[in-house]
């Protein structure tokens, strides 16, 4: 969480940090995919390979005291806020030292110390909660903003509309980021949604909007920095549509065979990590340094996973804790 200057792109060192964060998320998700295949993890998982630039660009435009909420496809967003790799793995593995002590799992990573209000698994349900977090910031005059990620499918559920409407009439410092990855579960967005530009939903709430290349980490960063400045200035919420692509299926049981031929390949050419590396090379960063960033990121993920795997399971008695205060 570094710069909030909306006028200039972040320094190259900061951009290298973005790259490292994206590679960590990619590597983390690839490991999750393997862990599921190996039967190490329960239930289901929803991976975000291909969408790393959205969360890294957005979260790194926040500052201390800001908050973030996301969906069950939220590993990347949580890591982008700076949550520990090992405790995130630990939660997915159901370990006592996981972020939620093994009570949450893959779909509910939460880390209040990092401003991560939670990962929510009912589509759209956390948008009103984000509105409430933004209300608290305004009520207390903290100057904080809250960032809320959700998918394209969420724009068709009632909670989306109620949350945006309330945030707009109260001019709350909320930034709603729609990750338009073209599919709501298994259905292409065009079959479920009559508007092509989801950002245009903002017009119904007289809300500021932006449509951004979600695979361009700097574009995401700039858009969120601008929205955050708007929120902090008391000028209300923003809806950002981030155009991106889910490189894997909806969940671990989905091979995504419904995708038209060539679609995945075309998007892989616009992979956000490749794009970021290319831009950094063009800015004069040596390939060797980029390779070093990649190696360091992958190593930290590997080491974190090894640590988490070694942690003990939760004591069954802890299942009775935290129902009430």
């Amino acid at each position: 969480m570094t710069t909030t200057d909306t006028s200039a792109p972040p320094a190259l060192d900061t951009q290298l940090d973005f790259l490292r964060a994206m590679i960590e998320i990619r590597s983390f998700e690839d490991e999750c995919h393997r862990m599921f295949a190996q039967g190490l993890v329960r239930g289901s998982t929803h991976l975000c390979q291909g969408q790393e630039a959205v969360v890294v660009g957005a979260c790194r435009a926040l500052r201390e005291g800001d908050t973030m909420s996301c969906t069950y496809r939220g590993h990347g967003a949580v890591l982008a806020m700076g949550s520990a790799l090992d405790r995130s793995f630990g939660e997915i593995l159901g370990k006592a030292k996981g972020l939620c002590g093994g009570k949450g799992g893959s779909m509910h990573l939460t880390d209040m110390e990092r401003g991560v209000l939670g990962s929510f698994a009912i589509v759209g349900a956390h948008l009103p909660i984000a509105t409430g977090a933004a209300f608290a910031a305004r009520y207390r005059g903290t100057g904080a903003v809250t960032l809320c990620f959700f998918g394209d499918g969420a724009t068709n559920i009632g909670a989306f509309h109620e949350a945006l409407n309330l945030a707009s009439i109260w001019r709350l410092p909320a930034i709603f980021v729609c990750e338009n990855n073209l599919y709501g579960e298994y259905s292409p967005i065009a079959t479920t949604t009559p508007v092509e530009r989801l950002a245009d939903r903002a017009d119904a709430y007289a809300m500021a909007k932006a449509r951004v290349d979600g695979n361009d980490v700097l574009a995401m960063h700039a858009a969120v920095a601008e929205a955050a400045a708007r929120g902090r200035a008391g000028e209300g919420p923003t809806l950002i549509e981030a155009l991106t692509y889910r490189q894997k299926g909806h969940s671990r049981s989905d091979p995504a065979s419904y995708r038209p031929e060539g679609e995945l390949e075309a998007w892989l050419e616009r992979d956000p990590i490749l794009l970021c590396e290319r831009a950094l090379r063009e800015a004069g960063i040596a390939q060797e340094r980029l390779d070093g960033v990649r190696a360091a990121a992958e190593r930290s993920v590997d080491e974190a996973l090894e640590r988490a795997k070694g942690w003990p399971d939760p004591d069954p008695a802890t299942r009775l804790e935290h129902v009430y205060a």
Partner: protein
Amino acid sequence: MTEITYKQAITRAIGDALEADGDVFLFGEDVGAAGGAFKTTDGLFERFGPERVLDTPISEQAIVGCAIGAAVQGLRPLAEIMFADFAGVCFDQIATELAKYRYMTNGQVALPVTIRMANGAGAGFGAQHSQAVENWFLNVPGLKIVVPGTPADAYGLLRAAVEDPDPVLYFEHKGLFNVKGELGEAPARVELGRAEVVRAGEHVTVVATQLMRHRALEAAEALSGEGVAVEVIDPRTLVPLDLETIGASIDRTNLLVVVQEAPPGGSWGASLISALMQERFEMLDAPPLLIATDETPVPYAGPLEAAHLPSAERIADGIRRTLAY
């Protein structure tokens, strides 16, 4: 001591809660300038201003979600859902977000949320505005459920609810708004989970809440002329439930009658009887009796609604049959 109505007790409790703690804010549909659909928030907007008493759109999901988000950021939201029936519109927010948020994050968040809702039948509002909604939430751990039946309880339980660290659903009964009772200058809070023995008696234990508490008292009065001493207990909160007080009464009377304003299935009365049967089967001299409504929606016309709800006469008859077993 002055005599005030149940409705006035609620207004006073809200005002005192707002006065006592700057983190408390009141919001809901028409709670502000209009003073509430039932005038339970009359004068509070003028007294505390638009920052702390806020009108919302007709958006129950946004109301409850906003309460959740504000609570996890340190505020004490006091939300109003105008008719308790509208809880169905925001059931996800109450049952799946609010009730589980603390648990699935392993206690990382506090949810001191109070949701007030106008509950119950008897006033001719028809099937969609008359339900005894408290029963819907009995099977959802993480919520506390409060059902005041008198002005003193309405005041004392609301103050306790707002100060409670957990989510509290506070049901105010529409049929009791004009019931009068004494309230002192500095009225006491009523601890959640503490039943009240409203009328002492040695022959039979009758448990009832809200409107049925008053009808049970009428029945007890009628039966006293027949030499029957009825003990009437009002649990006042259904979660937590004071089984101890009710159980101790049964140990003395050996007879149990439960009166509720709801169909029998999946209700608090059925749960109470089940719990007591498991603990005290041998203490009972007769089968426990559940006096409930018909298993139909609440009808509109006066004679139909009157026949639907347990009357004092029906309650007295039930008690007589239990005594005669």
